[in-house]
Symmetry: C3
Subunit: 356 residues, 3 copies
């Protein structure tokens, strides 16, 4: 059983790879979903295949009705105390596709924390009424703590990290991988492709997570285009070095575009500025994608963005067939559905039904 | 396909009647529901008949179970950034009667607009996870804009205007018409009746919309009883003139009561006062319905009110059989259910089942 | 029909026992659930037995699917204007177990009360769209008023009091009784047991309600351990006197522990302090349960707490098999499910299915 065989203090001292081993069930199936490191190449392939099955089933009323009959006896708590629209709605949709019922807490002002309850007790409360807790919070490490507390209570239920503090947002990385899988399914898959990350590479958790997950694939070349103040952090590069991945850094977007199989645009995350207005001093416009760049972009390349966007991509590019960011967002719903189906072990039913 | 054949700027310049032609599907079925002008006599009759079928089905568990099986594969986003209880709850109920799942955004503080996302992108986000967007907002014209944006995206979904700015609230007008249809179904229908509007006729969107919709009926006489400062606006009268409808204006409620087949009471909408307290200077009590008026009211007339009320109708009148405002509110649920069933094309199934 | 045969002013003047007689249906089944006095020994036994049936059914997908098919045609409004996590979530869960749809109002800022609507009208609005209203409010007596208003409208629907003002919280008392029933089911039931209440006995509505409900059982001895400023109120003792129940008061927790079959711990309710910080002057630590007390506690005794807790029980005690407060919380979900099933008359179906 995940996390029951280790004390909290000992777990905290583990490095990420060792931590991730404690989060899965004995058969390798994820129980808690806390970090991208839990997912190896095989797990990513399996999850993507399941998401595609679900996506096709969802095209018909018959398929939707089948899916909604899988987990009507399960209930999910969405505990979102950090502002979020798309991750919240995407998880809602994923739960409902499988027939799960949803409760939510979005504002701790309506909760018993006002009465002096500890967060440990609050989460045990949720777990009393729900079969899993999807959690998004500004407090780094909270999802890990909650997973440990629940695993060691009389009612262990899975925790899914939907964004925690500055670093981890594993389901976003999963949807990015799924988007790349779909984009390259007719041209050899992700192996050997060049991915160009652009923008605020220092503070975007999506870039950190996706870059690390890509080390699961053979020969992926990573390019980081950013203003020097916002270049990707050394710990990200250390992971690439350890995995013998090739990469380059630079600040010339136009020069990078022709190499790209995928361009991953990001917005400046100025909500993390330590000094107010610091980001405004950076000449960020050099890192915006423009229509003129499109001429240099390979015909079967894709343009991604985790959204929300500001000015990094003008709406006029939305109609270019290589712009996949709206589809990418919708992929989040499919991959989260696949993840829930995997945790609650109804993936077998889905394969059986979709082959019939 | 609605709104795909016209540029935004060109659409904006159309007059309401021309606009409304762009909102329906080719077979005349509404796609987006933005303005009362979309509904002609035939559409109103059809919708009312469908609402009645649904209302009868909903009386039994068998009928409710049938209805809930119609749209379990569809999901509605309720985007309500303007305070509302009854319209919100009424749409929730309508969706759930048909088995639709619901997501809601009621406070933009929890959304990605904080991160600088445009409203166009926010609505495209909602549409990614939902099959229709029901929208209530203080911003006039926003629902139109959103409808156009979605129609011209890769995932067009219908927008239903649940109150937008000062002027349009089409589903309120539909429920008012349905209430009149039901009230007069045994005495010749709406044609030839006299409707007396009382109160703040200048700023109530319900009066504006209902008055215009009544021009679809033959020989309806409209009477506007209001303080001079709050009399009905000239553009409303212009529509009546153009339709050759007879009407009169005045400030003597007692004199109007005996003529009425329907009295439509309204409250002072002082939230729209441009000068604080302006409404308080008006002697509004002269426009309150009193028990003494009831003696002069025809025995088969009806008293309506869009609710919420203040003092325009004392609670003691609630028990008079001619007081239909509570039923009127519930009619909103039925007519909205009928509207959703029409948009998602399950009206045929409902007729088939209710005739079996 | 409940509450239809008495005027509001006359109802208000009744004593609690007489009031409670007006809240049930003619066959003794609760219609409105407003006060603990509505439940006699037989009603408590019946409700507990039904909760246990439901609890066992809920262990399987087949049973959950059966339960969810009972009330899919019913909708509940959760009107919670006082902060609450666990009561809210527990009622949500109870409704969903039976397949009921849920609407909620948690913040009157989004409602029509802003437009000057009376509470009477607001509740009639909810009742228009829903089949019952679960209500939690800081305003004492509001649930009673609403029950009366609805019973005397054209659409009477039940009101369930989920905590109203300082005194009544009947479903909490029901879950406490159910926890005692389960705890003592193999050792003679509740009759003859000793229950020790500890902490803030003056202001906790749970203590007031449970103490009164226990008078339904034979020979239950009650012990009240509290600082003198927070001792149980005279009106509670008056009920015990009238029922010839034995009790004692004191401030020595250690001396009371060995006598206890159940210890009912509570937190200081300082949100009710009339003078800010008044509670902080009390040496409350003497009324905290410590691990050293456990040695003196009978092996088959139980430790209860309505939660949320602060420091009255250290988390280290959670793993003691006599600590039942987490199970107690979950019992709230089962007893509320049983209550809804009783009100909507599907208890017979549940017995039939669970015996098959």
């Amino acid at each position: 059983m995940a996390l029951t065989d280790i004390a909290w203090d000992a777990f905290l001292e583990l490095d990420p790879v060792e931590k991730s081993r404690h989060l899965n069930q004995d058969d390798g199936r994820p129980f808690h979903v806390l970090m991208t490191r839990q997912f190896d190449r095989k797990a990513l392939d399996t999850l993507g295949e399941l998401a595609t099955r679900i996506r096709f089933l969802a095209k018909t009323k018959e398929g939707m009705t089948f899916l909604a009959g899988l987990l009507p006896h399960r209930r999910a708590m969405l505990y979102f105390t950090q502002p979020s629209t798309r991750t919240f709605l995407s998880f809602c949709s994923a739960c409902e596709i499988l027939g799960m019922r949803i409760g939510n807490v979005r504002d701790t002002a309506t909760s018993s924390e006002l009465k002096g309850e500890t967060k440990d007790d609050s989460v045990r409360t949720f777990s009393s009424y729900f079969d899993c807790v999807v959690m998004r919070t500004q407090v780094g490490g909270l999802a890990e703590r909650m997973a440990w507390v629940l695993s060691n209570s009389e009612r262990p239920v899975p925790i899914i990290n939907a964004g925690s503090g500055k670093d981890q947002h594993p389901t976003q990385a999963l949807l990015d991988i799924y988007t790349l899988q779909r984009s390259f399914e007719d041209c050899g898959g992700i192996d050997g492709k060049t991915v160009v990350f652009v923008g605020d590479l220092l503070r975007g958790r999506t870039v950190r997570s996706l870059s690390a997950l890509l080390t699961n694939y053979e020969g992926v070349h990573q390019v980081f285009i950013a203003p020097p103040e916002l270049q990707v952090a050394d710990d990200v590069l250390a992971i690439l070095d350890a995995s013998h991945v090739t990469y380059e850094q630079g600040d010339d977007l136009a020069a990078a575009v022709p190499k790209a199989d995928a361009i991953y645009m990001t917005r400046v995350q100025d909500e993390w500025d330590t000094e107010k207005g610091a980001s405004a001093k950076i000449d960020i416009e050099r890192y915006w994608l423009k229509e003129t760049h499109l001429e240099q972009l390979k015909p079967d390349a894709v343009i991604m963005h985790p959204l929300p966007r500001r000015h990094e991509i003008p709406p006029s590019i939305d109609n270019d067939p290589r712009a996949v960011y709206w589809r990418q967002m919708r992929n989040g719903m499919w991959i989260r559905t696949a993840l829930l189906a995997t945790i609650f072990e109804c993936d077998g039913d889905i394969y059986a039904f979709s082959q019939a």
